[in-house]
Amino acid sequence: MTATTTDKSRRGRIRRVGPWTISLILHGLLLLALLAFDPLGITEIKFSRADERERTEQVAERERQRQALEQERRQRLQLTQEHAERLKREAERRHRDELTQRLERLIVNRQRVDELRQQRLAEIHERTAEDVQSVVAAQLVAQAETLQRMMEPLTREGAVVDPADASIVHQRAEQVDAIRELAEHLRDSPLDSEKARELINHARDVRGTMLSMANAGQFVDYHAARGVEHRAFQMMQTAGRLTNEPDMAGLNDTSTARGPDALPEAVQQPPQSLSAADAYDAAREVEKQIDQANTELRAASLAMAQRTSFAEAMSKITQPQVNRPDLGTELRGTPTTIGGLNEVRETLEQARGVMQEMALRSEQTVRSAEGIVKRGGDQQAMRVEEARLGQMLRMARHGEVIDLTGVMGGYGSDDLLRDADRGDDESDMQQSDNNRIVLEDRTIFAHALPGQRFSAAADRQGWLYLNTWYIVGPWRVPDMQYEPVHEPETAVDLDAIYYNGYVDGDGPLDGELRWQFVQTEEMRVQPPNVRSGAVWYAYTEVYFEQDKEMLLAIASDDAAKVWINDMVVWHDTGLSPWSMGEGFRRVRFQQGYNRVLVRVTNGPAHCIFSVLICPPESVEQSASRE
């Protein structure tokens, strides 16, 4: 009985205390767990983008490694020859349409370039002796004008050390006037060899006198006298070409033009049976043929423009050397593993890309060729005037302003050119003696701003500089030659790729050139990859709300040639350091977008150029304030 009572009381105590005790123990354990393990005590989740990115990269890296291992395993899997050939044919079939289409584009473009080439060569055959001599006579007129300009300072008072010698100089100046008259006569009658000989005699007298007097120290300005002597000598050489009938048979001989070879045999096959390797090799061959035809077309145009023989013109033209990878050999092999098959697929992709590039380049060539032929119609008149204008531009003095507004907007009449030459018409600069401007470099550096859009309401009316360009180059030009003519002079195509550029022996330049966007912080622009004896082309556009005459200040280290809307406005030859006020042109810009092309040639060391623009009235106002 007692035992029973004891058991009951124990059970009752357990029933009464048990749940609380258990609860307490559990809470205690939970508390201990919370205190002991930090992660269980976290009440918020922090998100770190950096950690997340790192974890993502780790996962991605593991996945890449896994895939690489899997790839490696698959690459080693062997294929039977039959299976491999079937898979290769399947891979080629997927690309066949694109490859054949690109090949067809190349063939069409080859045909078009060849037609243009034949058209230009036919024009060479039609040249007459008078055509050829008229260009020489035009050069003679330009040289005579320059000679007169150079002679004029030597006839001024005080130009000779001993006043007694002035009469001799004046006699020679009269002979220079006679030379000018004879040159103009020859321009109208280029086959009059007697007058050409007369001109040579006058030039010989002038040259001899200038040389002997300069060497004897009888001129105050020795270099000016030697300049006249040198120019007279040049005229003797030029006029010498007019004393004999030109060898028209030799000049019009185009037998060395061989044209493109026959199309590759593979092209004759139906497209369905053309393998990728054959299509690629045929495309390479056709591309070479297009280059050959285009080179001959350019040579024919140069021969027409300069009235030289085709063979001589060919020697001045560079033919692009395009080194395309030899993918045909790789494509002809049969893969033995999955890895080899994948390589074939990659090669096919590469071939597709290269052929696309070939097709685009051929279209660019066609555009360029059509541009050459299109301009051929009025080329003679254009070149005659260009010769005269170019001569004038080359002989402009440092800091001199030349007004070209009379000849902008197309090639004008002789009267307009003469106005431009004199620079003394109504629109001429009035603010300084001798039509010259002297720029304060520090002031211009401090105040000039970049700008390419011009409006009458603009706050800024001072000097602006062009700092944004597309530049391509370098091409190698030994001895600062201006020939040959490179592609950008024919047509500016910012998507074009040229393969005849500068090649370093062991440097980074491999001859492949692309237009690069260049924006500078200051007015001086340095072309990329500067090399000695090289040339670059820079292209940009300027916008005018309305037709406007502006003053251009162009400077370069070393030589430069500038075209605005395809017209030469600046032609500086020889080696010279950069000088902001090297020369000025007053030019007329058209309403809308105007094209500006600069050719800058580097001798040794540095190469920079700058183009500044200013409304002429601003310069006149500042001059009047002074």
């Binding site: 944004t468 597309y470 195509d493 910012l494 966007f517 924006q519 916008y543 977008y593």
Partner: protein
């Protein structure tokens, strides 16, 4: 024995709405997908940059999208283009609607020269309504 249906008693047939709702949902999904596809078509595969100081703008269906990838290649409305074509397109745009919004989609690793080139081309042609798209967790 003739069975009398309840409908017969009412004398009116009921049209089930289920097919109609199905059609409405299908149309809704179609337009949703079509709209998204139109937006995706102009996007290119790039990793957008992040910015703490962006202004959220309501998307304009008429906006022009110019993309530049990590290699500096240009895309106009989602299609790869060349410099000459891009300049021509911008010239046409400036002539027709100079106030049209232009959105630049640029990868965080895009060479800055390419961005400057496009910005200059727009600015030179008088196109000034330009925005650069940045990463948005809800949109991207």
């Amino acid at each position: 024995m003739r069975i009398r249906w309840r409908n017969d008693v009412d004398g009116q047939a009921e049209v089930s709405l289920s097919p109609l709702i199905d059609c409405v949902f299908l149309l809704l999904i179609f337009f949703l997908v079509a709209t998204m596809l139109r937006e995706v078509k102009r996007d290119i595969a790039i990793d957008l940059p992040e910015s703490e100081a962006t202004v959220k703008l309501r998307p304009e269906p008429e906006q022009v999208v110019i993309g530049i990838d990590t290699d500096g290649r240009f895309f106009y409305e989602g299609r790869e283009t060349t410099v000459m074509k891009l300049l021509a397109n911008l010239g046409d745009l400036a002539a027709s609607s100079p106030d049209r919004r232009i959105r630049l989609d640029i990868d965080r690793a895009t060479p800055i020269e390419a961005v400057v080139e496009v910005l200059h081309a727009c600015q030179f042609r008088g196109l000034s309504n330009i925005g650069i798209r940045t990463y948005d967790r809800y949109y991207n």
